[in-house]
């Protein structure tokens, strides 16, 4: 590409860098060119692949003969970066994996590290309840974005506005408590970063009161819409046995009939004190996954209501100065907290050697962390069990033999998030 117009050659504001030299060579031919079969790349930049997914379609007319999803376009090396940060610092990069439900990653990582530190039972109850409440609130916001983008893929614009409006109300609450709308790293090892501001619970009550009306709007828009049901029913059918064999978890698995929900199977962080039921269906098609996610949003709000009523007063961080930062005012007064603060900030805390697998029920399924520590103040290895990596892999099985328009519906109904798929 030598004949570049001059104003590209200098790369605008980075004259020292010659942009053409930086490029890796073009990605090689992903699929050999068959003579009769036309190969089309539903490529990394596509309005309805929910991120940077490339599905290489071998098509005969409108029908997909062969579908090969190609991922890796958002590979960020998060696990390698986490190996070079302290235990608490690693939360900032792990937080950016599943950016629709960011607190899911923090939750699983914190549970794992707390198990290694053997302080799981000393986490204050209020911190555990706040964690449950925020996990459920981010589950609702994640399902809102899924519903909005999935509806846009099928041509319905207004559900997007309703869903994003509901999400904005929840994000205002989350921002008030944690300081940021997304990637807020609100859960820390040992508890939660800060207590709820005053007046927050009243705003939560207002949201809880408004929520049923909003959910009715979302349901009325799509659930009985004939276009929606025609496009969704019978598309991407996965039976219970296939769903388990392909490693599906979360709404995708529950829509095929297996009611496997980690909040019920391995209750963590006071989940066993609230009663909520696990919505399941048996058809296993896109419409079943759609209904399961809508019901899940209502169940999540039910949990938030129960947590709101049972919220205990008390500290929100484990009172172990070697793990949690001492309160700021005490640093000026007591030498002990100055030393602890200094040690934690400059060196972080050490975790006893060993390995642990801790998993959490994320909006997309089981998000697990296999954490290996060798006693240092940095993780030796953080392996993520990404829910949408396995959910998306099922696309290889169900995509062939359908129309291209159905592949779009399947991608939307599996709800992949590519920060989590590509890590």
């Amino acid at each position: 590409m030598s004949n570049l117009p001059e104003w590209i050659a200098g790369a605008g504001n980075r004259p020292d860098l010659d942009p053409t030299a930086v490029l890796t060579p073009e990605p090689p031919e992903v699929v050999a060119r068959g003579d009769d079969e036309m190969v089309l790349s539903m490529g990394p930049q596509h309005p309805s692949t929910h991120g940077v997914l490339q599905v290489v379609l071998g098509i005969d007319g409108e029908e997909v003969v062969r579908a090969e999803p190609e991922i890796g376009y958002l590979h960020t090396g998060i696990e390698k970066t986490a190996e070079n940060l302290f235990w608490n610092q690693a939360l900032t990069v792990i937080d950016r994996m599943d950016y629709l439900g960011p607190l899911t990653n923090d939750f699983a990582f914190c549970l794992g590290v707390e198990r290694l530190l053997r302080i799981t039972d000393r986490i204050p109850r209020r911190a555990q309840q706040i964690r449950v409440m925020f996990a459920e609130l981010t589950r609702i916001t994640s399902h809102c974005i899924w519903l909005g983008t999935h509806a846009i893929d099928l041509g319905a614009i207004s559900p997007f506005f309703y869903a994003v409006d509901l999400r904005e109300n929840i994000l205002d609450l989350i921002e008030a408590a944690s300081g940021a709308r997304m990637n807020m790293t609100y859960f820390r090892v040992g508890g939660v970063n800060g207590d709820l501001p005053d007046g927050w619970l009243e705003r939560l009550d207002a949201l809880i009161a408004k929520f049923p009306g909003r959910m009715r709007d979302l349901r009325d828009l799509l659930q009985k819409n004939p276009i929606w049901t025609d496009r969704e029913i019978g598309v991407g059918i996965i039976s219970a046995a296939e769903a388990v064999a392909w490693g599906l978890t979360g709404p995708a698995l529950r829509a095929s009939g297996v009611a496997y929900d980690l909040r019920k199977a391995y209750p963590y962080s006071t989940y066993d004190e609230y009663e909520f039921d696990v919505p399941t269906r048996t058809e296993g098609d896109s419409y079943a996954r759609f209904l399961v996610r809508l019901d899940e949003m209502e169940e999540a709000m039910r949990i938030v209501q129960q947590v709101r009523k049972k919220l205990d007063p008390g500290p929100v961080m484990v009172d172990d100065p070697t793990i949690s930062l001492p309160p700021k005012p005490s640093i000026g007064i007591s030498m002990e907290s100055l030393i602890h603060h200094f040690k934690l900030v400059s060196e972080g805390f050490r975790v006893p050697p060993g390995d642990v697998y801790a998993a959490v029920e994320g909006p997309r399924g089981e998000v697990g962390y296999y954490i290996v520590s060798n006693g240092e103040n940095r993780p030796w290895r953080v392996r993520t069990r990404p829910a949408s990596f396995y959910n998306l892999q099922a696309l290889k099985k169900i995509a062939a033999g359908n129309l291209i328009a159905d592949v779009v519906v399947m991608i939307g109904s599996l709800d992949p998030v590519f920060g989590e798929v590509d890590r």
């Binding site: 297996v258 496997y260 172990d320 290895r381």
Partner: protein
């Protein structure tokens, strides 16, 4: 207060040997590449219907350098309610692999082993025996080197484009206490002297 015993332990070369009293999995099996398929088939027949995750870990100095970690969950394979699912059992299979050795692929037992095995090959360089389509999944196809290995520099060998600001130099090979620079070192020394001075000055009861 937390027991401080582990604060001063030296770095364990093989963390998986240290068995913590944690009940995250019900069964842990350590095998080698030879009997891996047989162990996995036995576990599958015992009811572990879902291969939850396949991951790789690189223990630099340990004799079988890599570990391929399989997590299995005993899920029912037909429509079942919350009660039938209950608390499914979990198993972890650790398969020690040397650098350059191959591991049999588990794709025939569970179809969803395809992508994670490709990822372990891509990021660790562990080849899987009869894998249908073993090629890179995360990195560009022409990438050299396997990034998640411990001896692979964090910022990548050939891609060190932007000059690093001096304060951002982080050690990334192996894990050692990070160099905190002389200013931090002086502050640390001064704090420890003051602590020692205080303790020797007052009586022991206050600490």
């Amino acid at each position: 207060m937390a027991d401080r015993s582990f604060q001063t332990v030296s770095t364990a070369v093989d963390p998986t040997a240290v068995r913590q009293p944690i009940d995250d999995v019900d069964e842990i099996v350590r095998t080698t590449a030879g009997q891996l398929l047989e162990v996995l088939a036995r576990l599958k027949s015992q009811g572990y219907a879902q291969l939850t995750d396949v991951g790789g870990v690189d223990y630099l100095e340990r004799s079988p350098r890599f570990d391929v970690v399989y997590h299995l969950t005993a899920l029912p394979t037909r429509a079942s309610g919350v009660a039938d699912v209950g608390r499914p059992k979990r198993a972890r299979v650790l398969c020690g692999v040397d650098d350059g050795a191959a591991v049999p692929s588990a794709v025939r037992l569970w179809p969803n082993a395809d992508w994670p095995e490709r990822e372990v090959f891509d990021l660790f360089g562990i080849t899987f025996g009869d894998h249908p389509d073993l090629r890179r999944i995360q990195m560009p196809a022409d990438w050299e080197g396997h990034p998640l290995r411990k001896d692979y520099p964090l910022r990548g060998p050939a891609r060190d484009r932007t000059p690093r600001p001096p304060f951002a130099n982080k050690e990334n090979v192996g894990s050692r206490v990070p160099p905190t620079g002389e200013v931090a070192e002086r502050l640390r020394q001064e704090i420890f002297e003051r602590m020692r001075g205080e303790r020797s000055g007052e009586s022991e009861a206050t600490s």
